[in-house]
């Protein structure tokens, strides 16, 4: 749930609780006020009547007078209020009244005087307050919603702008990012924290990359020397079997190291965007050329190759295209069975290569990680697919792997 919906929902829930409470409270409050107003009027009227009775001895004209009844002498009547309904013939309805009775005396005769005052009808009151409160609250909701919308738009604007900037930030690019200033303290603080963190990560990333580059680059000359010396040693005739085995193994491991170095250098060079050229690469021709180059190996392994190639071109550096497709085809050859098959299909937006082979021991989601390799090929470094993944990253191709038992498919989707 996004922020604006979250806050708006909270408002609505709050108002949903508040509304009945407010309506109830209003109702009781108004009723109380009304009652006390009525009572005050009646009490005032009593005072006026008592005053007139004491002064003139007769009953003044009163709108509120309900009835005057004689009472027994010595009967103490406490003045009291009472609610009742009177049937009014003119409206054909029962109307609520508040009665007030008190004792007095007219011509020395004790009487009970009852005054009455109409009360407002309860249902009408409820409806009135309900509608009034509802209207007020509705205006409040709309107002709050609009205000919030505006706050969201203006106040949070830099926040969202920064967010989308951070989403697009790529550590492999060198530049540091500048966040928009919003003038709001909390946002400024979080920007500060993010910038510090990013700067740190960027520096670490940079160092790591440089280290990676340097190490894979600087080992090449020493490795060349070691390799030359070892070949020289192998050419000598004076080695015994045991020494020979050791020298051989030095040679092979040196080679492996050198290949790892070269592959890692290639990866960092791809990351560094050193391959900037955009050539129009004719994929079907490229695939055919690679297959030709591998022809002997394919025949040697007795592989049956079927191709279905539609002419199409992609825009990328031709060296990387060559590496990408060579790796995929080579992969299908290396992990194939003697006498197996490979199917290659190229359409306008997808390249698909399927081969038979043993069930892979590497989990599909780890397949593109560095140094992951099926056990079948101990000479393989497990860097080919990692390189491919890097190449696909920079051109926004997607490379997927699927396997069904002994059938493996790599599909490469070009950018739409």
């Amino acid at each position: 749930m996004d922020l604006i919906r979250k806050t708006n929902t909270s408002y609505l829930i709050f108002l949903a609780f508040l509304m009945p409470i407010m309506i109830g409270a209003d109702y009781f409050l108004i009723q109380y006020l009304f009652n006390s107003e009525v009572e005050e009027t009646l009490l005032h009227e009593e005072e006026r009547i008592q005053y007139h009775l004491a002064k003139d001895g007769d009953l003044p004209i009163s709108n509120y007078l309900h009835e005057v009844t004689p009472i027994d002498k010595g009967f103490e009547l406490n003045p009291k209020f009472k609610d009742t309904l009177f049937f009014e013939a003119y409206t054909d309805k029962n109307i609520p009244y508040r009665l007030y009775s008190f004792s007095s005396s007219i011509d020395q005769k004790p009487v009970k005087i009852t005054l009455r005052h109409m009360l407002p009808e309860i249902e009408e009151l409820i409806w009135f307050f309900f509608i009034a409160t509802f209207a007020i609250l509705l205006l409040l909701v709309i107002g709050l919603y609009l205000i919030h919308q505006e706050i969201y738009r203006s106040t949070w604007h830099p926040f969202f702008k920064n967010l989308s900037m951070l989403k697009q930030y790529d550590f492999s690019k060198m530049e540091s990012t500048q966040l928009n200033s919003s003038g709001i303290r909390e946002f400024e603080e979080i920007n500060q924290v993010i910038i510090t963190l990013m700067e740190q990560v960027r520096k670490d990333f940079q160092n790591l990359k440089e280290f990676n580059e340097n190490i894979s680059h600087e080992i090449q000359t020493p490795l060349a020397i070691i390799r030359n010396k070892v070949v020289h040693l192998l050419e000598s005739k004076n080695l015994n079997k045991n020494e020979l085995r050791q020298v051989e193994s030095i040679y092979q491991e040196t080679n492996k190291l050198s290949k790892i170095g070269k592959a890692l250098t290639l990866i960092s060079r791809i990351e560094n965007q050193e391959f900037k050229r955009l050539d129009r690469v004719d994929v079907s021709t490229l695939v055919e050329n690679i297959l030709n180059n591998m022809e002997e190996i394919i025949n040697f392994k007795n592989l049956d190759i079927s191709t279905e190639l539609q002419p199409m071109t992609i825009e990328c550096d031709h060296i990387l295209a060559d590496i990408l497709f060579t790796n995929l085809i080579n992969n299908a050859i290396q992990h194939n069975k003697e006498g197996g098959w490979i199917k290659i299909r190229l359409s306008t937006d997808t390249f698909e290569i399927t081969n038979c082979g043993d069930v892979s021991e590497v989990k599909p989601d780890k397949l593109f990680d560095r140094f992951q390799k099926g056990s079948s090929s101990k000479d393989s470094l497990g860097l080919g697919l990692a390189i491919n993944q890097k190449i696909c990253e920079i051109y926004e191709f997607t490379l997927n792997y699927e396997s069904k038992e002994e059938i493996h498919t790599f599909s490469l989707r070009f950018k739409a």
């Binding site: 192998l234 050193e274 002997e296 790796n327």
Partner: protein
């Protein structure tokens, strides 16, 4: 042929020098830009092997200088950088070939010989090894003047062997020569093994001798000398 190797790593320099001298070349060395420029001014070399990064200068500048003087000299760049930019740039200013470190000395040797042949004989020269005749331009090989029926890779193997005759060629060096160095080829060694058996047979059928010797399990030697 006279070769000048310009490379700042003395060990590597010595290795290259002794390898090339064993091949019967005259090989001079220069570990710095300055010494290289001095030597180029004094002696006429056929081939220059140049490292790009030198302690006191850039190998590319040497190439520019040499080309400015219009000296007809074959140039091979060796670099640890493996940078496409450098490679393209190097070839643009007049270098003939580019090798990435670490390279196999046999590969360097093959490139130097091919370059020399192109420069000195306009490529028309045939290569002989006893009864074997190689025509590099038409990819043909003759045994006792009878043509061999070969695939491109088979031709490449024999050619690579003959220009590196009497040398130990490891399986890795052969594989890299045949397929380049950026792919992982676990099957290629088995492939080489089988193909060499086929080639032995093909050469034998045309009356050629078996020159391909296995050297332990690391590689092969193409030689008519006994190796025990």
């Amino acid at each position: 042929m006279k070769v000048l190797v310009i490379e700042d790593n003395l060990e590597l320099l010595q290795d290259i020098k002794s390898f090339l001298e064993e091949e019967g070349n005259i090989c001079e060395i220069a570990p710095t830009y300055k010494s290289a420029m001095g030597k180029i001014g004094f002696f006429p070399y056929d081939i220059l092997v140049v490292d790009i990064t030198l302690p006191d200068g850039n190998g590319l500048d040497i190439i520019r200088e040499v080309k400015k003087e219009n000296i007809d000299i074959g140039i091979i760049i060796i670099s640890a950088k493996n940078s496409v930019g450098d490679k393209i740039h190097g070839l643009e200013i007049g270098a003939d070939d580019y090798l990435t470190k670490p390279f196999y000395l046999a590969e360097l040797n093959a490139r130097i010989k091919a370059l020399y042949r192109r420069k000195a004989y306009q490529g028309s020269r045939e290569i002989y090894f006893n009864e074997i005749k190689i025509k590099p331009d038409s990819y043909e090989i003759f045994i006792n003047d009878k043509p061999m029926n070969l695939t491109k890779k088979e031709f490449d193997i024999i050619h690579f062997f003959v220009v590196n005759k009497h040398r130990l060629l490891t399986k890795e060096a052969i594989a890299e020569h045949l397929w380049g160095d950026h792919i992982e080829m676990a099957d290629s060694y088995k492939f080489i093994y089988t193909h060499l058996a086929n080639l032995r047979k093909k050469i034998g059928e045309l009356g050629g001798k078996n020159y391909i010797q296995s050297i332990y399990s690391v590689g092969y030697k193409f030689t008519d000398q006994e190796w025990t």
